[in-house]
């Protein structure tokens, strides 16, 4: 095998596809669009949550006797006198008549339950709740030792603490979300990169076949050299795409405190990262080899897209079934998907983020995946060699089986051009 020729093919595949509008869009424009969208959504939410302009008249009802007359209420706040009977209907009528924009009702057992009911016809911004929270806390503090609750509990009434089950380590809310979401985000990026570039593989082979270039190439390089060059070039392309996405995401996320918190939730060990890289490489080769075989077997790009769509559906199954992974990552379906080579890389990576995956399961998964990848690459090379010169004729599984059984270099078809 001439590695130099494979290298020439790899370089071409990398640069030609790198420059293609499809790749540039997916690799650079698409993530920027997502980031842009996230930015605008965040800005919109921040603006909405911090804007209390629509709440100029806020009434409150204090059944618990918490509110002190000497504590200054926020601007626009007033005591709403409600009848003892049908008080709820009265409040709703007040809201209906626009006499008040929101009403806080402090329950009689507030000191025990912390219950405060909020009535409004509009979406409540976070700032309004915070304002009332502060007002409430100030009142509680003003009562001092008269109340049987610790004062720091009153200043910050809600301080949720989350603990991870396996390590019992205290984690913030953002870190906990990161722990769940980071593997999914990585899997998503991984899936997009793998499917985009493996489709380039298929598209390239179909183009070379449709444009009758295959025979010219076949007279210069061996099919295996061509195949290896394409795999090498396009895996480099997928790696570029993933690296760009992850680095951009990481840089942006790490510039904010919440982002750093979010990333701290992913407790990936070096071993996990190495495993993820190996899984990525194997999955990419597996997907690319399947796409290459499809490209070599069909006659037109439209046919190849149908077949590729089906393969993509199978590969995305773990993402589609993410609810099963989140609720029980060691359940039968996630484990089964960890063993099935088409879904195992995605399934394993998702599970790593959620639980401790037993080593024996990773070992079985790797054995199946490596064996399948080797087998599929071999089969793809056979299909590539058989199909590349069959212009205008689909290499059906029946023809392929026949050719394999008879150990032929060409299938039993009388359609080869003369």
């Amino acid at each position: 095998m001439n590695f130099h020729k494979s290298w020439i093919v790899a370089r071409r595949e990398y640069w030609v596809n790198f420059r293609s509008p499809g790749f540039l869009f997916m690799a650079f424009v698409f993530p920027l669009m997502i980031l842009g969208l996230m930015f605008f959504v965040t800005q919109f939410l921040i603006k909405r949550e911090s804007n209390t302009d629509n709440f100029k008249k806020v009434g409150y009802v204090d059944y618990a006797g918490i509110i002190q007359r000497d504590v200054e209420a926020p601007k626009g706040y007033f005591v709403l006198d409600v009848p003892e009977v049908d008080s709820e209907a009265y409040i709703e009528q007040q809201l209906e008549d626009h006499k008040v924009d929101a009403v806080f009702v402090i329950a009689a057992n507030y000191t025990l339950t912390g219950q405060v009911d909020l009535y409004s016809q509009k979406s409540i911004p976070e700032a309004l709740k915070e304002d009332f929270d502060t007002f409430l806390s100030d009142n509680l503090v003003a009562q001092g030792s008269n109340l049987k609750v610790p004062s720091d509990r009153l200043v910050e009434p809600f301080d949720p603490v989350f603990r991870t089950l396996d390590s019992d380590k205290r984690q913030s809310e953002a870190a906990l979300i990161g722990r769940f979401l980071l593997p999914t985000i990585f899997v998503f990026v991984f899936f997009i990169a793998t499917s985009t570039t493996s489709q380039f593989m298929m598209g390239g082979v179909v183009e070379e076949k449709e444009n009758r270039l295959m025979e010219i190439l076949a007279s210069s390089v061996r099919p295996i050299e061509l195949l290896m060059g394409k795999l090498l070039g396009l895996s480099g392309l997928a790696f570029t795409q993933i690296t760009f996405w992850l680095m951009t995401g990481a840089v942006i996320a790490l510039t904010t405190e919440q982002g750093r918190d979010f990333f701290s939730g992913a407790e990936f060990q070096v071993g996990d990262i190495v495993l993820m890289i190996i899984l990525f490489i194997l999955d990419f080769i597996l997907m690319a080899a399947i796409m290459l075989a499809i490209g070599a077997a069909v006659t037109a790009e439209s046919e190849s897209r149908q077949a590729a769509g089906f393969i993509g559906l199978v590969a995305v199954l773990p993402l589609a079934a993410n609810a099963l992974f989140f609720t029980n990552p060691n359940g039968p379906i996630p484990i089964l998907m960890s063993f099935f080579p088409m879904t195992s890389p995605v399934a394993i990576i998702m599970r790593i983020g959620l639980t401790s995956v037993p080593a024996w399961q990773i070992a079985i998964s790797m054995v199946f995946l490596v064996a399948t990848t080797v087998g599929v690459v071999w089969l793809a090379a056979v299909v590539f060699r058989l199909g590349m010169l069959m212009y205008g004729k689909v290499l059906t599984p029946r023809l392929l089986w026949q050719a394999l059984r008879e150990n032929q270099s060409t299938p039993v078809v009388k359609v080869l051009p003369e």
């Binding site: 093919v9 007279s219 003369e418």
Partner: protein
């Protein structure tokens, strides 16, 4: 390898020994053997589906023969030998959205050239074939004829010692046909061996030194073009002029010629064209402007052989050669 076969290998650019290729029950090439001598233009002829492309693909190791052996440029085709061969397939194409020069450099590199050398040579050949303005054009922007020329450049870019071209003139206008033809003659003069598969018989007559005609996978004609035509020559002459041709002694039948002016005189047994020429020269009542042997065109031979019994044609030709 014996001494005889070694000298044969050195003398021949291609040595094909009894090759057979089957696709299931269908035999595409059936025990075909031939040699292509170094420096000659060799033509591969045959009707559609005869097995020409299969033979070419086996020579290039794209397909493997079921039986028989093939040697190219002195041995079994290796990666290194592939770089010394140029191939223009009949089913050909180019990357559509790539610039002309970029594509040529890539194909040149796959043939073992450095990017620098490939670029220089490509620019030179593009200029030679009148495409210097299209160096940076995308292939899709070129006319069909221009694309054909770019494909031809891709085939000869790496200065091959052996050129295998399948229907090299299809899609070309007469000017470009002449341009490519001249380039082929130049290459031949430089010692390049050219194997040409074509349906255009007049080009074979004009360019090829030797030919191989195959039909239904079998060899039906093989040898120097002139000898093949002579073999199929009838005992007849073509004349153009004035006079009553039917009354010439030795003429048993007069057939109308192809252009309305000429006549084909079929001679009686025992009479040779020389005898008729002497008679016509000695008589005042005949004015002869043209007199030539009625040698059939390759087209006529092709139709005769392919339409009739190919095996018998090969036997007949072999017999004639043996008698010579």
């Amino acid at each position: 390898m014996s001494t005889a076969s070694t000298s044969s290998t050195l003398e021949n650019a291609i040595f094909v020994q009894d090759i057979t290729k089957r696709y299931g029950d269908f035999t595409a090439v059936d025990h075909v053997h031939f040699e292509v001598k170094r420096g000659e233009i060799f033509s591969l002829l045959g009707p559609n589906g005869a097995g020409k492309t299969t033979i070419i693909r086996m020579i290039l190791d794209i397909l493997r023969p079921d039986d028989g052996q093939i040697q190219v440029l002195g041995g079994v085709l290796t990666d290194a030998t592939k770089d010394r061969v140029g191939y223009l397939p009949e089913e050909r194409g180019l990357y559509k959205n790539v610039k002309v020069l970029e594509m040529l450099v890539y194909l040149g590199q796959l043939k073992g050239m450095s990017a620098h050398d490939a670029r220089l040579r490509a620019v030179d050949l593009l200029e030679h074939l009148g495409l210097s303005d299209n160096v940076k054009s995308k292939i899709s922007q070129l006319s069909k004829g221009m694309q054909q020329k770019v494909q031809f450049i891709a085939t000869i870019l790496h200065k091959p010692e052996l050129l295998i071209i399948d229907e090299p003139f299809s899609g070309l206008d007469p000017v470009n046909t002449q341009l490519i033809q001249d380039l082929l003659y130049e290459m031949k003069a430089e010692g390049v061996t050219i194997v040409m598969s074509t349906h255009q018989m007049h080009q074979v007559e004009e360019m090829a030194d030797r030919l191989l005609m195959i039909n239904k996978g079998q060899r039906v004609l093989y040898g120097p073009v002139k000898e093949v035509r002579q073999t199929y020559a009838q005992n007849a002459v073509i004349v153009e002029g004035e006079g009553n041709w039917a009354t010439v002694p030795g003429v048993k039948e007069v057939q109308a010629g192809r252009n309305g002016h000429e006549a084909k005189l079929m001679l009686a047994p025992g009479f040779k064209p020389d005898d008729v020429m002497q008679i016509l020269a000695s008589r005042q009542d005949y004015a002869v402007r043209r007199f030539e042997l009625a040698v059939p065109s390759l087209n006529e031979i092709f139709i005769q052989v392919v339409g009739g019994n190919g095996s018998r044609a090969e036997a007949r030709f072999a017999d004639v050669r043996a008698a010579d």
